[in-house]
Amino acid sequence: MAAKTLTIDGKQISAEEGATVLQAATEAGIKIPTLCHLEGVYDVGACRLCIVEITGTPKLLPACTTKVAEGMEIKTQGGRLQKYRRMILELLFAERNHVCAVCVSNGHCELQTLAYSQGMEHVRYDYTFPKWGVDTTHRLFGMDHNRCILCTRCVRVCWHIEGAGTKNVAGRGGRSKIITDLNQPWGDSDSCTECGKCVMACPTGALFHKGLTTGEMEHDRDKLEFIVTAREKKQWVAAD
């Protein structure tokens, strides 16, 4: 496959044709913040945290879905991008009830980590304090909708990797909700294979293993990566 040369943050790099800007940057050791992106699962460009500036394009584009092109000049950092990213995170914190101190994922949460790394010190918007329920009907897992950021990673692993299609998004806008089958309690689901990939994929404390303490609440991402690589690339790479 033909190689493309491009510049990211002043650094000249080459990337394979068909690669995304995010892949090219990662390979070159440039870190672009992401949230809805999950390695091995198709991208949706929804969280908008990976937006970058491309010279000659008036619009900001998500690095995860934008393909590299010859001679592209990309800026991944800078005043405007930093500000927007911080505001997006603030919006997420204000949208549902993200209280780190009482969360099972405290210390292992991607939203929390991002807020630190992007310098989000406080939330300037009014919290909406919605009352989303918690579903603990499943014998192994639970889902706290109050901590859900609707990144749809769980939906995508369930459809794309496991192939069960148990999870989906219902409703729309701010009333969107991750559902199980016909919006029924998880424990009553006929299609769930109890594979646990959705829990591994969840960036926050919305999906969790029952009966674990906060210290144990790591989202076993290595295992997910192992399965994804095996399914997609037919390579069985043990985690290091």
Partner: protein, 548 residues
């Protein structure tokens, strides 16, 4: 069907034509005021007067002056009756023979009608939308014949480029360029989609075109399909438009019966079919990638572009997407020539534009004017100004994606660039007039609520940003906000505009930004003193005071 058959149908129609035609508007607006009853009584009155051989009572599409419906026009007498009731029918028929009608009339030569320039609406209110023969008599399907037999697909695209037609859905993308891209995209299967999901509140041009002249859209789609190499088309139409759906179904059926859709059209190797897909109430489905997801039977959420639909669209195939009015322009362009079309309008915006005039204005209804017509002509001369002695304060164009143009800018010519400079957009053609009783902060809140409700929820800036912007507008309208809140609102507008995934989110701040630009004093008058003092350096970093 060959060309000879087409002419035969036209000649047969002309031969059977009666001396007098009573045209009754049967479009949705007049239907809601018993247009059906009026037509039935007219038919009865004609029979009772024994005039069946001389008078035809014809149900037609929109006659444009919707506020005065139901409308009935007598030809060749050129009398236009307004607010007709079933009871008026006998006297209207009697008036054809010199009697006096007891129904109110309006001047068919008034500015509202005289200043119109009809291309898209040429058949509206003239032909019977439920009879293909009526469209054929108005030279319908002749352009398709010519295109199939005398032009290569490349010629068709070139002529479209030459015409200068730009997409009438709102953004104004050059139609010829779009056709050319789809035509060049490799793919065994291609699709043509007509976007009839007219979601902008206050816009009803596309509804009228579909109700009044559905065949022109079908013919336009067929010509486009030939140009790009597609054999399947879809019309995505709103469920809220039952009459338009029914007229389309009838039109497609008749076109198939006459061999104008289906296999081997006009005995050429060209095949083309059209299916209707009915929307289900989601504004975001007017966005092209969301619309295609919906046609595929999925949740109507947009996806990032590129890839553009012209390369990878419906079911992953190259897809041409145009809106109703764009397709309705197509037959006339090929019938009368690209040069003729390019001679109308301004340098960069060719042809005409249909507007739906509504709100606080005397004459509400449909108008079609050449591009570049000053807003003042539309609103004051044709629309008759504000009713009940009010004064016009602003004109809203472009719906939830557009802005409010204040009265001091009424001399702006209506074209894509001029409206853009004022922070509004052409949009699909909804034009809502607001008088001095309108509160602009309320209008901004109204549109923000709309965008909040219609956000699909996929990307965060639009999903959560519209909620926060609406919350801030609510606070301002309720006199609970400070200058700091206004600054926060403006900052959010900028962020949502620049980071949202699709057009809905990217344009959601427009009504707020444009009212802030021209009516900032109305916002500021509602602000409360800030307990922290004026916003200065470092103010943004101060902790927020608990408001509850």
């Amino acid at each position: 069907m060959i060309y000879h058959d087409l002419i035969a149908i036209k000649e047969k129609e002309l031969a059977a034509r009666k001396k007098i035609v009573l045209r009754c508007c049967m479009a949705a607006g007049c239907m809601s005021s018993d247009a059906k009853g009026v037509k039935e009584q007219l038919v009865k009155a004609v029979a009772e007067a024994g005039l069946q051989d001389q008078v035809e009572v014809r149900g037609v599409g929109c006659m444009k002056l919707c506020c005065e419906g139901p409308l009935v026009q007598a030809d060749p007498q050129n009398s236009l009756y307004i607010k007709v009731t079933a009871g008026n029918a006998p006297s209207i028929v009697a008036a054809l023979k010199g009697g006096k009608a007891n129904a109110a009339q309006t001047d068919p030569d008034a500015a509202f009608f005289k200043q119109q320039f009809s291309i898209v609406l040429a058949n509206s209110g003239v032909v019977d939308p439920e009879r293909i023969e009526s469209y054929i008599t108005a030279d319908g399907y002749q352009a398709l014949h010519e295109v199939l037999h005398e032009m290569t697909p490349k010629d068709v695209v070139e002529a479209m480029v030459k015409s200068g037609l730009r997409g009438r859905g709102g953004a104004g993308f050059p139609t010829g360029l779009k056709w050319g891209t789809v035509a060049k995209s490799p793919g065994a299967r291609k699709y043509v989609i007509c976007n009839a999901d007219e979601g902008d509140p206050g816009a009803f041009m596309d509804r009228s075109v579909l109700e009044s002249d559905p065949h022109s859209v079908l013919e336009g789609m067929a010509i486009a399909a030939y140009a790009v190499g597609a054999d399947q088309g879809f019309i995505y139409v709103r469920a809220e438009y039952p009459l338009a759906i029914s007229h389309l179904q009838i039109a497609i059926k008749q076109a198939k019966q006459h061999g104008l859709l289906g296999a081997g059209i006009f005995e050429s190797p060209f095949n083309f079919n059209i299916d209707i897909r009915i929307g289900a109430g989601a504004f975001v489905c007017g966005e092209e990638t969301a619309l295609m997801a919906s046609v595929e039977g999925k949740r109507g959420t947009p996806r990032p572009r590129p890839p553009f639909p012209a390369e990878s669209g419906l079911f992953g195939c190259p897809t041409l997407l145009n809106n109703v009015e764009t397709f309705a322009n197509v037959p006339a362009i090929y019938r009368k020539g690209a040069e003729w079309f390019a001679g109308i309008g301004t340098e960069k915006s060719k042809g005409t534009k249909v507007f739906a005039l509504a709100g606080k204005i005397k004459n509400t209804g449909l108008i079609e004017v050449p591009m570049g017509t000053p807003l003042r002509v539309i609103v004051e001369e044709m629309g008759g100004g504000a009713p009940d002695g009010g004064t016009i304060k602003a004109v809203q164009t472009g719906g939830p994606s557009g802005g409010c143009i204040p009265s001091q800018h009424l001399d702006t010519p209506v074209d894509y660039e001029s409206l853009g400079k004022l922070g509004s957009i052409m949009g699909s053609g909804g034009m809502i007039v607001m008088d001095d009783s309108t509160n602009m902060v309320e209008i901004a809140r109204f549109f923000m609520e709309f965008c909040m409700d219609e956000s699909c929820g996929k990307c965060i800036p639009c999903r959560a940003g519209t909620v926060q912007m609406h919350n801030l507008l609510d606070k301002i309208a309720n006199r609970q906000a400070t200058a700091r809140d206004l600054a926060k609102l403006e900052e959010l507008c900028d962020m949502v505009k620049n980071t949202s995934l699709c057009g809905l989110g990217q344009t959601a701040p427009n009504p707020t930004l444009s009212t802030l630009r021209f009516f900032r004093n109305e916002y500021e008058a509602l602000l409360q003193p800030d307990p922290f003092g004026p916003r200065g350096s470092g103010a943004a970093n101060q902790p927020e005071l608990a408001t509850k």
